[in-house]
Amino acid sequence: MAITFEKVNFSYGAGTTLAHAILHDVTVNMPSGQVTAIVGQTGSGKSTLVQHINGLLKPTQGRVVVDDFELTARTKEKQLMQLRQKVGIVFQFPENQLFANSVLEDVMYAPLNFGADKVAAQAAAETALRRVGVAEALWQKSPFELSGGQMRRVAMAGTLASDPSVVVLDEPAAGLDPKGQAELLQLVLELKSLGKTVVFISHHMDHVVAVADQVVVMHDGRVVAKDTPAVLFNRDLDWFKKMKLDLPKAGQFAEKLTAAGMKLPERPLTLTQLATAINTEVGHE
């Protein structure tokens, strides 16, 4: 399901003394069935942008089109249910949204809200819990008895249970240890293989490289670049400094190598690429 932003402007408190413009003239599209990463420093407007995808925020000007749903300033609140059924958002630290008596009940919340009956909702919840790897032994437990990592998974299942075609993940790896991060990236790729459109906000360029088909760069509320990771991360180093963006770790290392006198033919994005490039370089001598 494709997502298109057309000349979207957004301000908080439009028309008051405290009006505060966040998004400026954003035009961007996120193709169906692909993973689009959104990067940019804190405060660049990434979260505001994705909250337009399911109508938590409405554009002050312009429009957002998700599949056949058009969101503008005039869209009525009750129409938004239809949009939210298509778009699931996993927020930063999603474990903060858990509320129910049992894990299963919590995960059933979204399907029930979107009109599923109890049997169907439970089946959907079970599928989602299996997908994120929550053991069946935990399903009847209170979500508040679980460890932090398990709570995070349950919360993610809570979004996936309504089987949205678009899944938005806002910094889903924050606070996870390396193992948890690797599992999360695996889940993102699995969602893509199920044909879902994934939008992925991250500060970790290594995560971006690992999963993204294209990268949207935000700066001061504007989209300043949209490219495949391979093209984007080969830009000039100064540009990254200006955007306050990191390179992937492999790229950072390659830059340091260059400074020490070993220049690689092109900037590597992953550890494997870097290792291969160095081995070739050293082997040639």
Binding site: T42, S147, G148, P178, F253, A260, L271, V282
Partner: protein, 273 residues
């Protein structure tokens, strides 16, 4: 060398059934920078809470600069140790930056007139003096953590523990906090014992000593070079090596010893010549 923290035969159970620490021993020398690493749930944060007497052990002895931790000595011991927690919002007590730094001084009953200079000094060390009158919700996560560090520094502790203090920060915030820590270590040297609890191995490389914990067991203990040369053991415990370590493992031929990033770059540039 003086022992800053000595943990002897520590036993700790979460509840009646789950044992976390069973006969655990660890000694931290005064003036060291120790990175305590392990994946989430490995017990590393619990250990810090035990040392500060925020939770009680089932058995065993913890001594801080020779003073055994008991109900009577807990306040004295807390006076020696400063701690920065994970969540930047949940440890900001004051309404402004200066008020937050003042909080600990007020508890110590420092005369009001002496406070401004102590507050300025502490904020200066972490580079937050320009934000003195700011309210917490106008600060970034990294800035809040530096204020938390200043609040601790104002109390002139001998030991500072950072419990996953960078886990919730963006890369920018993490960098500034790590730079601040390095500046601290450079300034106070052996007068300050620093313990950073983390699962970020690039952070752990900055320490003098790395201690790896899993399920309440001490897995590895040594210099970063010694610990990070145990690649398989690290992976088995859900941890990765620092980037340079993972890279070196894929080099053909691989370097004989563990090299940190700077050493690896030197080694590679020499290979080329």
């Amino acid at each position: 060398m003086t022992q800053a923290i000595k943990i002897n035969n520590l036993n700790y159970q979460y509840d009646d059934t789950q044992t976390l620490f069973d006969d655990f021993n660890l000694t931290i020398e005064s003036g060291q920078w120790v990175a305590l690493v392990g994946h989430n749930g490995s017990g590393k944060s619990t250990l810090a809470k035990l040392v500060l007497g925020l939770i009680a052990a089932n058995a065993g002895e913890i001594t801080v600069f020779g003073v055994p931790l008991t109900v009577e000595t807990v306040h004295e011991i807390r006076g020696q140790i400063g701690m920065v927690f994970q969540n930047p919002d949940n440890q900001f007590v004051g309404a402004t930056v200066a008020d937050d730094v003042a909080f600990g001084l007020e508890n110590q009953q420092l005369p009001s007139n002496d406070m401004p200079s102590r507050i300025d000094e502490a904020l200066n060390i972490v580079g937050m003096q320009a934000f003195k009158d700011r309210e917490p919700h106008t600060l970034s996560g990294g800035q809040k953590q530096r204020v938390a560090l200043a609040s601790v520094l104002a109390l002139a502790p001998k030991i500072i523990i950072l419990d996953e203090a960078t886990a919730m920060l963006d890369p920018d915030g993490r960098d500034t906090v790590m730079q601040t820590l390095q500046a601290l270590k450079a300034r106070f040297g052996k007068a300050l014992t620093l313990i950073t609890i983390t699962h970020d191995m690039d952070e752990a490389t900055l320490a003098d000593r790395v201690v790896v914990i899993n399920d309440g067991q001490l897995i590895l203990d040594g210099t970063p070079a010694a610990v990070f040369s145990q690649r398989d053991l690290m992976h088995d415990n859900g941890l990765a090596l620092p980037f340079a370590g993972e890279l070196a493992a894929q080099m053909q031929p691989a370097p004989a010893n563990y090299l940190d990033e700077r050493e690896l770059i030197q080694w590679l540039s020499r290979l080329k010549k």
